[in-house]
């Protein structure tokens, strides 16, 4: 009975302890707030409505990609090929519309199918042929990027129908960019799947301890195949938004995004070994990446230096995660 009363006390926690749990779940808010304050002080035009909408629109595609990476990383694996799948599905989407005159819907369905296919292939390589995800998805990265150039002949495909322009450039009710709306909707769905469905729980269990999950009657390999497939789906959605935003299919589309997506997921509290982390944290992680990049651009910092900074951020984020895990292990 003692347990009961304690349990209740915990739930009644009050504002302060509630705030503490909130903070420990979303440590990421600290660097976001700090960074916003710094940029506000030193970067011109940072704190304007237009700039914030710009940040969010930039972020939305990375965030959508990160939503796919989230599931994969929550199972303890990762996917280095996601960004080139963004490029490939975008190029196919553009090519089918421009060169073959397909309707946007039909072209979009094919693009999604290609995205799903890459994920299924990744999942099978990892679970059936036991190829480490690192190698399997690195291979997929090269395959897809190579196919981008094959499909486009290495030239951008321009002349994408104006009818899809709203997807990447339009505003909902003239206030919120559509990509941001998509991002929010996707994250609501992902958060729901992660916390309220059996599939979501299986994902965390496989990441937390694949052997225990297997011995609890969870088909861990199937779960892994599904998460890689979801990664491909997320990449194809991001790819189509990118085409609409640029009005063209770029063979280099999405280059470097896998990196930003990984930063977002790690910053969002998903441990590298999997098993924990929340989708909302990942979305905030993507926002942090966007704010960082935007401020540096406003300050006219050379984009080469920006890359250096992003590398430092990734290593620091993972270092922080490792440090936290070690301290937890020590506190045992």
């Amino acid at each position: 009975m003692e347990t009961n009363s304690n349990g209740k006390a915990l739930r009644r926690g009050g504002f302060f302890s509630g705030f503490q749990t909130f903070l420990s779940n979303y440590v990421i808010l600290v660097p976001i707030v700090l960074l916003v304050c710094v940029w506000w002080l030193i970067a011109p035009n940072f704190m304007t409505y237009a700039n914030w909408m710009n940040i969010l629109r930039q972020v939305s595609m990375i965030a959508i990609l990160a939503a796919g990476a989230f599931f994969i990383m929550a199972t303890g694996d990762f996917d280095l090929g996601l960004a080139s799948v963004v490029g490939l599905t975008g190029c196919i989407f553009a090519k089918l519309m421009v060169n073959f005159g397909w309707s946007p819907v039909a072209a979009g369905l094919i693009a999604v199918a290609v995205g799903l296919l890459t994920g299924i292939v990744n999942g099978c390589m990892v679970t059936i042929f036991s190829i480490p995800a690192f190698i399997a998805t690195l291979g997929m990265q090269y395959i897809c990027r190579g196919l981008c150039y094959v499909v486009t002949n290495s030239y951008p495909i321009s002349g994408v129908p104006e009818s899809i322009g709203w997807i990447g450039r339009g505003y909902l009710m003239d206030t919120i960019p559509w990509p941001v709306v998509f991002m929010i909707v996707i994250y609501i769905v992902v958060a729901f799947v992660a916390s309220r469905t059996r599939f979501g729980r299986f994902v965390y269990a496989v990441g937390g301890n694949a052997e225990a999950a297997y011995l609890s009657g969870i088909n861990a390999k199937r779960i892994k195949r599904i998460v890689f497939t979801l990664g491909g789906l997320a990449a194809s959605i991001a790819g189509m938004i990118l085409v609409s935003r640029l009005s063209s299919g770029q063979p280099t589309g999405g280059t470097g995004w896998e990196f930003k997506a990984v930063i977002a997921v790690v910053m969002g509290g998903v441990s590298l070994t999997g098993g924990k982390g929340k989708p909302i944290g990942v979305a905030l992680g993507a926002v942090l990446v966007g704010i960082l990049e935007n401020g540096m651009t406003l300050l006219n910092i050379n984009s080469y230096y920006q890359q250096v900074v992003q590398g430092v951020v990734l290593v620091c984020a993972i270092g922080f995660d490792v440090f936290k895990t070690k301290r937890q292990a020590a506190s045992k």
Binding site: T3, L10, R198, G200, Y204, A205, N209, N219, G275
Partner: protein, 496 residues
């Protein structure tokens, strides 16, 4: 005993690990040029003793003399330099290197230019092999060798250090009869050369065949050292066992009903041969046997976790197909695995999430997980199993071993499992929690569940079980009813 005759003199060695006295005041001597057998049950302290002798562990008390001088060894290399080498049960060779490279690993011969002198390396390796009458190409990659051949490479490696004492840790465990003969032949050659062999084995016949002297360890203590000629098999077994049963095993009477689970002719490649057993409702059946006898493999095969070659499974008399863990769960079979941290629990998740893991359907409302139902399920089992925790939200990695084990059990009780297989359920659990786990098992039996317990702890099996199967080398070698239980009988089935 004369100093020149005694190569190793162990005096009052004690080694304690948290909660366990692994070696307690062990003293004995090993004669130069003899084959000295070291026997004891699982956990008797044999491995710890070897690790102390070779500097892997530092003893808490006592000392030992090698060749008349007190040895201060802090790592295996120093022991090797001194002349003590170990041929481990899991051979420690570099698979991708050649036989010659492995023999002289880390100590290559160098020529004038400070480069590896391959010719000398190969010549020295061949010479060592020839001295044992072994034909083996020194350039063969070790990965291509049989276990027996790898053992020979290890022995040559020991000889390359001019080992005067070679400790063989269960060398026969994975050998065929023919290979064993050739191993014994090598031991004879070594003996002629004056090399002392400390031979660790569970197999009585081997000890009587090659050993001159035998030392028995039990529960970390030294029971006796005597010439093999002075003992017989029965005496040796009773020395290995020799414990008295305390009152630590509460046995509650349960009504034993019909056969719940029956396994017929189960085989799995290499490991398991033609295993048949059954468990009744309300019965606790033990599976005994030495490490490597195939107990865990049997449990995993029945549970659908590993593939099996042949075998039928019947539940309540009906044949069932179990080809995956999911099938086993559907048929109400549960497995509480050997290593709860690695196999039983998601350590970084809460008690609540671990308990519901197998049974998520029952905490769903309209197909969606319901936190309230999940919390209630956890609270119910926290109370029923008396898990000590402030709430179901606590991460299981923070619980004690006994409480963690209860969480694993709760997970299976939540799906109302009827047949519960527990693999070493009390390993690493303190005495108080052990008694609680025994009581729980008895209560499960009283509820009509069929319980199977795999254990290396004989007193525990004798105290708790209604019937015991003994396994040896992948087969069932004996079956005992409760009135016939004795450690001697079980052990005589377990060893050959």
């Amino acid at each position: 005993m004369d100093n020149r005759e005694t190569i190793l003199d162990i005096q009052h060695i004690t080694k304690t690990f948290p909660g366990v006295r692994a070696l307690n005041d062990v003293s004995f001597q090993v004669k130069r040029g003899s084959v000295h057998a070291l026997v004891g049950e699982n956990g008797a302290g044999k491995s710890t003793l070897i690790n102390v002798l070779t500097g892997v562990y530092h003893p808490d008390g006592g000392r030992y003399f090698f060749k008349g001088k007190e040895a201060h060894v802090t790592m295996p290399l120093e022991a090797q330099m001194l002349g003590i080498s170990v041929v481990h049960q899991e051979l420690k060779l570099s698979e991708t290197l050649s036989v010659a490279e492995n023999i002289f690993l880390g100590r290559p011969f160098l020529n004038k230019a400070r480069l590896v002198d391959w010719r000398k390396l190969r010549a020295e390796a061949s010479e060592l092999l020839d001295s044992l009458n072994i034909r083996l190409n020194v350039d063969t990659e070790v990965a291509h060798l049989s276990v027996a051949q790898k053992q020979i490479v290890e022995i040559c490696k020991a000889l390359s250090f001019n080992a005067e004492m070679i400790i063989m840790d269960e060398p026969s465990a994975t050998l065929t009869d023919k290979e064993l003969d050739s191993l014994f032949h090598i031991i004879d050659i070594l003996k002629e050369r004056g090399v002392t062999i400390v031979y660790i084995s569970h197999r009585m016949e081997e000890i009587f065949r090659i050993a001159d002297t035998v030392t028995v360890l039990r529960d970390g203590g030294h029971v006796g050292t005597m010439p093999v000629a002075d003992v017989n098999r029965e005496k040796l077994i009773s020395m290995m066992v020799g414990r008295t049963l305390g009152e630590e095993y509460p046995k509650l009477k349960a009504e034993i009903g019909e056969i719940a689970l029956e396994v017929r002719n189960l085989s799995a490649k290499k490991l398991l041969h033609d295993i048949s057993f059954n468990v009744r409702h309300g019965e606790i059946v033990g599976i005994s046997g030495l490490v490597g006898a195939g107990r865990t493999e049997t449990a995993r095969a029945v549970f659908g976790a590993d593939k099996r070659a042949t075998g039928e499974i019947f539940i309540d008399g009906e044949p069932v197909k179990i080809n995956s863990v999911i099938d086993a769960v559907r048929n109400k079979i549960a497995l509480v695995p050997e290593d709860r941290k690695k196999q039983g629990l998601v350590l970084i998740h809460s008690i609540k999430h671990n308990v519901s893991l197998v049974n998520l359907k029952n905490v769903c409302k309209r197909g969606l997980l319901n936190d309230e139902l999940e919390r209630r399920m956890a609270e119910k089992f926290i109370e029923v199993l008396n898990i000590v925790t402030p709430s179901g939200e606590k991460e299981v990695r923070l619980l004690s071993g006994g409480n963690q084990q209860k969480v694993v059990l709760a997970k299976w009780l939540a799906v109302d499992s009827k047949i519960i297989i527990l693999d070493e359920p009390t390993r690493g659990v303190d005495v108080g929690a052990k008694a609680e786990i025994y009581k729980l098992m008895c209560r499960l039996a009283q509820d009509g569940k069929a319980v199977v317990m795999i254990s290396s702890d004989l007193p525990e099996l004798i105290g708790v079980c209604d019937r015991i199967y003994v396994m040896r080398e992948g087969t069932i070698s004996g079956e005992l009813e409760r009135e016939d239980f004795s450690q001697e009988r079980i052990l005589s089935h377990a060893v050959s």
